[in-house]
């Protein structure tokens, strides 16, 4: 813009509009401009977020990987796994933590900050941004947060000596996909309900927490009774865990077979997570549109 800006009041504010300028602008800042907001809104929590995102893996890996691991490795566990307990649980913990971060971001911030109290999505929608773009930006941001979480976690795992193959790096996109397979459907819920009535707490306690315990994070689900295994199969986290473990341990060709996943199963895991994610993204866009255009 080439308008001169006098520093004194009253400033010129209108009456100099050329249609072409607005045509160029009509699409607005799009999803990238939403990232600017989401970044800025996270800044006040950056220290605490960084602390928890580094602190949590340190604690988990110390207590489970090293502490519990020393028992597991020293007994039959070491033989049946064929690798250190740390390297067994690390990929699963990366997937689980990325999922927890994503779920948290897909509940209160969307319903309370976005739609109900601060109502920032309504403010966004008064600009050229469309409800779909807003939904897309919010979900893309959640995915980015998960990816950052997974990356930091992986770095801490590496410091603990838990990374045994280069393809362990694949844990980051896998964990992100697994996280979105749950977070995007939850975002649909958050964008739909008027009052959560304890729904978010229920999601955390009765969905995320059991998922963490029964998705093969700490032991293979084959240890579970048959009926509990079926539940694991429905859990996005189990699919992500299987994939993450495959990415980090399959190249080692462990004699225990840990980390080995057949091609069909591989595709099955990916398809399950992808379908949930895509459905969640599409439905979130739809709910945002319905709610913002009332």
């Amino acid at each position: 813009m080439s308008t001169e800006t006098p520093t004194i009041t009253p400033p010129p504010l209108a009456g100099r509009h050329t249609p072409t300028r607005h045509l160029v602008r009509a699409r607005g800042g799009g999803v990238p401009s939403l990232f600017g907001y989401l970044l800025a809104s996270t800044r006040p929590y950056l220290k605490i977020a960084a602390l928890s995102q580094l602190g949590s893996p340190v604690l988990y890996l110390l207590s489970l990987g090293i502490g519990l691991g020393s028992i597991v490795n020293g007994r039959a566990g070491g033989q049946s796994l064929g690798t250190s307990y740390l390297s067994f649980i690390a990929p699963a913990l990366i997937a689980a933590t990325a999922l927890q971060v994503a779920v948290a971001q897909s509940m209160y911030p969307i319903l309370f900050g976005g739609f109900k109290f601060q109502r920032i999505y309504f403010a966004m929608n008064a600009t050229p941004l469309t409800p779909r773009q807003i939904a897309g930006g919010v979900l893309a941001w959640i995915a980015a947060r998960s990816a950052i979480t997974a990356t930091l976690y992986l770095a801490v795992v590496a410091c603990f000596g838990g990374v045994r193959s280069i393809s362990t790096l694949l844990c980051v996109p896998i964990a992100t996909l697994g996280a979105m397979a749950l977070a995007a459907p939850i975002a649909v819920y958050s964008a739909t309900v008027d009052t959560e009535r304890g729904g978010f707490a229920a999601i955390s306690r009765f969905l995320v927490m059991p998922m963490f315990l029964f998705s093969g994070t700490f032991y293979p689900v084959s240890m579970l009774p048959e009926w509990a295994r079926v539940l694991a199969w429905l859990s996005p986290l189990w699919h992500a865990t299987e994939l993450a473990r495959w990415a980090s341990l399959a190249p080692l060709h462990l004699s225990s077979g840990v980390g080995q996943v057949g091609a069909a199963a591989l595709l099955g895991h990916l398809a399950f997570l992808t379908v949930l994610t895509i459905a969640g993204v599409l439905l979130t866009g739809w709910r945002f549109r319905v709610r913002l255009s009332r």
């Binding site: 813009m1 209108a14 009456g15 509009h17 602008r25 607005g28 800042g29 809104s41 006040p44 109502r119």
Partner: protein, 314 residues
């Protein structure tokens, strides 16, 4: 309608515009148009359909039926293009409370796709306009209601809008903050920004609107300039008499012949007259002693009462 007075094509044109939510019809086939540079108001009580109309004009809420053109474009297909040229001040502030004043403006400008270089000077200008320059680096949360409102208005101007939509711009503000805000809006009006506002304050409508429509129950019940609405629908002056709650009804009959029209409210009588002082004397000559009385100019409040049988603010 007064379309003959206008030369240019209207910036906003609505014909038979309706909005339904399920079985509830919030806006019932309203017609109106707004010319460039005009200050146009929707006056009416809560629930009259003003905000629903504003959201349709703001190209965020699709019309249920009827025809609407904003800046010559159809909001159902050109929403983003229209919104890129509008400024919107919603009824409830939706600022980001955890960000600073400056960040709120900057990020909002980015939503419009305004380049970073262009935004910085623009923000300085708007902070100056909103009298918030010294609060630029402060978070929004602790600001007063009036300051937040001014920031919302500043934010709505970030894209040099051709039309500024203000939904209840001063509701909830103290009198001083309202006057500061009116002064800012008055400046915008003088700079040629087309203002479209809703209000249930008649003084606000009188201050800011060149022309307005009175809405009630989803319908437009009158249209015109504030002065014309008053001359068309009510007398020049109003004598207000208070006889005490249980007396008003009885006394109304005794003074009815003195006025063009008498309204009996819960707490007072309104006598619509051309010369209030003369009528007041006549009332006293009849030996009637109201507890209190006053004479005032007729206002839009009286117009609304006349048209709907109810007062604007319950």
């Amino acid at each position: 309608m007064t379309s003959a007075e206008r030369t240019a094509e209207p910036l906003i044109e609505a014909v038979g515009l309706s909005k339904r939510f399920g079985s509830f019809e919030a806006v019932k086939a309203v017609d109106f148009s707004v010319a460039r540079g005009e200050s146009f108001g929707f006056l009416g009580p809560n629930g009259a359909g003003k905000s629903s109309t504003m959201r349709m004009v703001g190209a965020v809420s699709p019309a249920s039926s009827g025809r609407l053109r904003v800046l010559g474009l159809d909001p159902t297909v050109a929403g983003p293009a229209i919104r890129s040229r509008l400024g919107v001040v919603p009824q409830q502030d939706n600022l980001d409370l955890e960000l600073t004043v400056w960040e709120n403006l900057y990020i909002y400008g980015r939503y419009f796709g305004i380049p970073k270089r262009a935004l910085r000077p623009k923000i300085e200008e708007l902070l100056d306009f909103a009298q918030l320059s010294d609060r630029a680096r402060d978070k929004v949360e602790p600001l007063s209601g009036g300051m937040k409102r001014r920031l919302t208005i500043a934010r709505s101007l970030i894209n040099d809008p051709e039309i500024l939509l203000l939904d209840e711009p001063t509701t909830g503000l103290d009198p001083q903050a309202r006057h500061v805000l009116w002064d800012r809006l008055y400046r915008l009006k003088h700079q040629g920004v087309t203002l479209v506002l809703t209000t249930h304050f008649m003084d606000e409508a009188e201050q800011l609107c060149d022309r307005l429509v009175v809405m009630d129950n989803g319908r437009i019940v009158a249209e015109g300039s504030p002065a014309r609405l008053i001359t068309e629908h009510v007398s020049r002056e109003v004598a207000e008499l208070r006889f005490g709650i249980d007396q008003n009804e009885v006394r109304a009959a005794e003074v009815a012949d003195l006025a063009e029209r008498v309204e009996v409210l819960a707490d007072r009588l309104l006598l619509y007259v051309s010369d209030g002082e003369a009528v007041l004397r006549a009332v006293h000559e009849r030996g009637l002693q109201p507890v209190s009385s006053l004479v005032r100019r007729a206002s839009l409040e009286d117009v609304f009462l006349r048209l709907t049988g109810r007062s604007l603010v319950d």
